[in-house]
Structure formats: structure tokens, C-alpha cells
Amino acid sequence: MDAPTIRTLGYDGLLITFGERLSDTSNRAALAFHETLVEAQLSGAVETSTSLVSVYLRFDPNHVSHANMRQTLSEMLASRDWCSAPPPEGRSLWRIPAAFGGDLGPQLAEASAMAGITEAAAVAALTRHPVRVQTIGFAPGMPYLGELPANWDLPRQTKLTAQVPRGGLCVAIRQLVLFPNPTPTGWRHIAQTRVNLFRPANDMPFLLKPGDEVKFEPVSPDELNAYEDDPMGGAICEALS
């Protein structure tokens, strides 16, 4: 893996990136560095987050200069080998029912063809093994799941789909995303779930966290609709490790 880079993001942010491409190693490094950054409670820090391979720090540059903040981060980066960091603790495996294709997954045919396999083979491939939550972002509690095999390296659409419904499962660039709210997107909509990923009134509003694993269980549209009134949408959780 390349050495981590530090870039500015906006006038008041820095982004520490652990790899140009997504890999398990760089994803784990980002999650581990983020944990350390949060614990460090740096003077001037305002907010932090992670993406797939990066850690973002927003700070007050009129309190701590960009140069000084970069220096502090460089020292933290040099303090250990982040690429050998273990995955986060307290992870869960979620089994989430999903209806593929048809009206509930209108772009399954197109996406399967782009991946060079039949629809049936695509459903089998995407439900055989669990995928890992690599980051939460874009929308509240929304997971980026992966990594899918190389034939799923599909580009996003040039035109946005006007709206994918809540619980929609979409695919692009060797990843799956699951939408917590109705959303316009460039990703292809291949299946539908009934899981509620974001419950703002709860003490813990977010269902998934980075490091969790998700196994999609293929079900028929009728079976899925039976979960309509279940806020979990039929999802079942068990502890990992």
C-alpha cells in the first residue's frame, strides 16, 4: 500500500487517504486511524468522519493553522503501521431479506448483462456470501457494502435515476448500497428490502456500523411484502467474533 496522503477538503478540512483504490487493508487502516483521531480530541477539531479509504477532519483554521494541523496528523500517521490494524470490535452479521429483479429491482437485467452473467447467476452471486460494511455515508445510516467480484466493476449511470425507494439495493463499482430514504442516484437498482436503517427517534438511530457484515437472503415479492409493517424488514442480527 502507498503511504497515506493528506489533502485539503474545503477551506477548513483535511482528508487523510490510505489508498487510491479500495482494499480491505486501506479500509481497515482508515477505520483504525479514525478511532485514534476521535480519542485524541485535537485542539481546534470540530468534526470527523470516515469514507471507504479516508478519514476527514474538520477544524477551525483560524485556531490551528493548516500547516500545524498537517504536522500533527503526520506525526500520528507515523506513530504506527495503520495497515496492520485489526477490524473494529463488536461486529455483527445481519441477514436481510431482499427481492431481486422485476418491479422491485428494475435494473437487475441491465446490471447482470453488464456483469456478463444471467439474472439468476447474478442473484446467486450476490447472496451466496456476506458483504462487509466498508463505510456509512451519503445518507443517514447508509452502508457501502463490498467488495464484489471484479465483473461487478460497473460505472455509474450518466443520467440519474429520479428516485430509488427506501430500502432499495443498488450496485456500481464492485459495491452495493442500501438506501435509508428515497434518493436520486446514478447506481443501478437491482433489489428491494424493507429494512429501516435510520430511526431518528431512537437512542441509537443507526442500524449498521462499519465492519458489520450483511448477507442478503433472496425472497419473492410476496415474502418481502409480508415484512411491510416490520421496522426490521425481517432482518436478523447475530454477533460476529
Binding site: 485539503t8 474545503g10 470527523t48 469514507s51 471507504l52 443517514p140 450518466t158 435509508p180
Partner: protein, 334 residues
């Protein structure tokens, strides 16, 4: 209910807004808050209270309100015609809304987001640390007709102040710093981006402003397969067909489209407030200069209470009395 502001007639863009919430970025919730935070700060200054108080944001169209007690109010942001029981009110000013009187606020005549602040601030239960509706996240929502909004205790008494807001309702120059993928756009595209006159498209909302312009779409070397990366408000995403979107405070937290630049926070209200016919031009500034610009904007925001002027001038103190138009109480603001 003790102190309450009744929403007698709402509109599809009326929400409760404060300065938003921090700390949930790593769970996919952006800070959100007022589309024009400076307007909330101006409202707070006019009422002599903390800018963290929540007020009512009105996107394009106002509403009709009634209070169950005498309340102090301030009107800021996009210019809207407002009346209390038929009597016109000055915009960018503080007034008394007497108990039972009808406050009617019409559609915006300039800008997009108007604000109604109340003395003591709105006192709704906080969700995840803030009162702000975050429409994209599904936190809170549009205020419906018939809602009674609880209002906090007001320690202030003063009204009848006005201020001259920083110009931001007519487009104009917008300063940007480079963003993550700026270098993937060649220098000709960057020059064309700085020279192009953009207009805010009607297909815009609290998440982002879509920009309309003449000419081909903007393109970079990144293609459509770059890894999704952290997004901040102000980032200008170039979507697949080459159209720029300026992301506002309620934006998503990560995104995969390349970003050509990032608008400075103090110029972001100019984008949110731009009428569809107003020209917007982008200009890159170096990072060090951007930090200075934001420091000055912060100082100006904190100094707003010192920039107030009395709404009604004492005729005995007016040396050039004849130059004033004393009959017309109606001034449509900036």
C-alpha cells in the same frame, strides 16, 4: 401550551431551522441547518439574542402566523412582503407581533429563503441535538398548517431595529477553493468554469443548487468510476452529464462524482439565495486567502449587533428632515 406561534397557513418550503447538528457525519448525516445561516444570525442580532436560536425558514413562499402572547419577531433573508393585520412591515427589521394578530408573509420578491425569528427562539424538542428539520435525512419535516410551535421564554424587550444585510440575493461573484478532484480538470476547463455565467436552476433544493449555463458540459479525466469520497457543503460536483451542482448544508456526506471546486461558507448563501435569473460567477482563491476571508466573515457576523439602526428615527435628531419621505412606511428591503 404556554407561549406558542400558530401556523395558520403553511407552504411546502416552511421548516424549522437552526444552525444544524454536528457529530453525525460519520453516520451519514450532514450538518444541515438554515440554507442561509447569516439570515438567522441577522434575525438573532435584531432581537438581541444568541444566533443558535431556531427560527422558521420559508423557501420561496411565506405563511400566515398568529401568536398566543405578544411576541418579538424579526424578518430576514429573502425579501418578502409582510403585514400584521394588514399593516405593512419592514423586512430586515424587528417588530412586535401582538397576541391574536395575523402575521401574513407573502412569496419572496427577491432571493429564495426568508426567515421569521421569534424572541426566545422556537423551543421544539431536539432530535439528535438540534431542532433543524433535515429533509434529506427524514428528520423533522415541513411544518403543516395548524401546527402550534412552542416558543421559548424571551428575556428581551427591544424591537424596532433594522440592519442593512450583506448583499447576497442577486447572485454575483462566488469564491471557491480547489477541491479533491480539481486537478483532474484541465486548465482550459477550469478557465471555462471561471468564465461561464451560471444561473441557479429551478431544480434546486436545500441539498444542492443545480446550475444552468450555455455550452457543453464540464468534463474531467476521472470518468464515472472514482471511489466515493467525503463531501463537504460548498463542494461543486460535476454529475455524469457535465452539469455542476453546488452542495448546500443539507448535502449528502460522501459522493462519487468529481468536484471541480468548493465554495467558501461565507459565499454559500449567495448560491442558495440566487434567483433563477441572477448571474453566478466562480473565482478560485488561494487557501490562505480563504482562511482570512472566513475569519473576516466570522468577525462581521459577531459584530452584527453593533450594526443595528433604529427603524423609526427621532425627527428631532434629523437635521435634513425635508429629505425624508415620512408617509411611506413601506420599504421592500434591500
Amino acid at each position: 401550551m404556554t407561549r406558542a406561534l400558530y401556523v395558520k397557513r403553511s407552504a411546502p418550503g416552511i421548516t424549522v431551522q437552526d444552525l444544524g447538528r454536528t457529530g453525525y457525519l460519520s453516520y451519514g448525516v450532514s450538518r444541515g441547518g438554515a440554507a442561509d445561516p447569516l439570515a438567522l444570525a441577522e434575525g438573532a442580532a435584531l432581537l438581541g439574542q444568541d444566533p443558535k436560536h431556531a427560527g422558521i425558514e420559508m423557501a420561496a413562499v411565506g405563511g400566515v402566523f398568529e401568536a398566543n402572547e405578544d411576541m418579538r419577531i424579526a424578518l430576514t433573508g429573502a425579501t418578502m412582503h409582510a403585514k400584521i393585520d394588514g399593516k405593512p412591515l419592514r423586512w430586515n427589521a424587528s417588530h412586535v407581533l401582538p397576541a391574536g394578530a395575523r402575521l401574513a408573509i407573502e412569496a419572496a420578491t427577491n432571493g429564495n429563503y426568508g426567515y421569521l425569528s421569534v424572541g426566545g427562539g422556537l423551543a421544539l424538542p431536539k432530535i439528535m441535538g438540534a431542532q433543524s428539520a433535515h429533509l434529506a435525512a427524514g428528520i423533522g419535516g415541513i411544518v403543516e398548517t395548524g401546527t402550534a410551535l412552542s416558543v421559548g421564554p424571551d428575556s428581551g424587550k427591544d424591537v424596532g431595529w433594522t440592519l442593512t444585510p450583506e448583499l447576497r440575493l442577486e447572485g454575483g461573484p462566488v469564491r471557491v477553493v480547489p477541491s479533491l478532484q480539481t486537478e483532474l480538470f484541465d486548465s482550459a476547463e477550469i478557465s471555462r468554469f471561471e468564465e461561464t455565467v451560471f444561473k441557479r436552476d429551478v431544480r434546486s433544493n436545500r441539498m444542492g443548487a443545480r446550475l444552468a449555463f450555455d455550452g457543453p458540459g464540464f468534463s474531467s479525466d476521472s470518468g464515472l468510476s472514482i471511489l466515493s469520497e467525503v463531501i463537504v457543503p460548498g463542494d461543486i460536483q460535476i454529475t455524469g452529464d457535465g452539469t455542476p451542482f453546488v452542495l448546500l448544508n443539507e448535502c449528502q456526506t460522501v459522493g462519487g462524482y468529481p468536484r471541480i471546486g468548493c465554495v467558501l461558507p461565507s459565499d454559500l448563501p449567495k448560491v442558495a439565495q440566487a434567483p433563477t435569473a441572477a448571474p453566478l460567477r466562480f473565482k478560485f482563491v488561494p487557501l490562505e486567502q480563504a482562511v482570512e476571508i472566513e475569519a473576516r466573515a466570522g468577525a462581521a457576523r459577531r459584530a452584527l449587533p453593533d450594526a443595528l439602526a433604529p427603524l423609526v428615527r427621532d425627527p428631532r435628531k434629523m437635521s435634513d428632515l425635508l429629505a425624508y419621505q415620512l408617509i411611506s412606511g413601506v420599504v421592500s428591503g434591500v
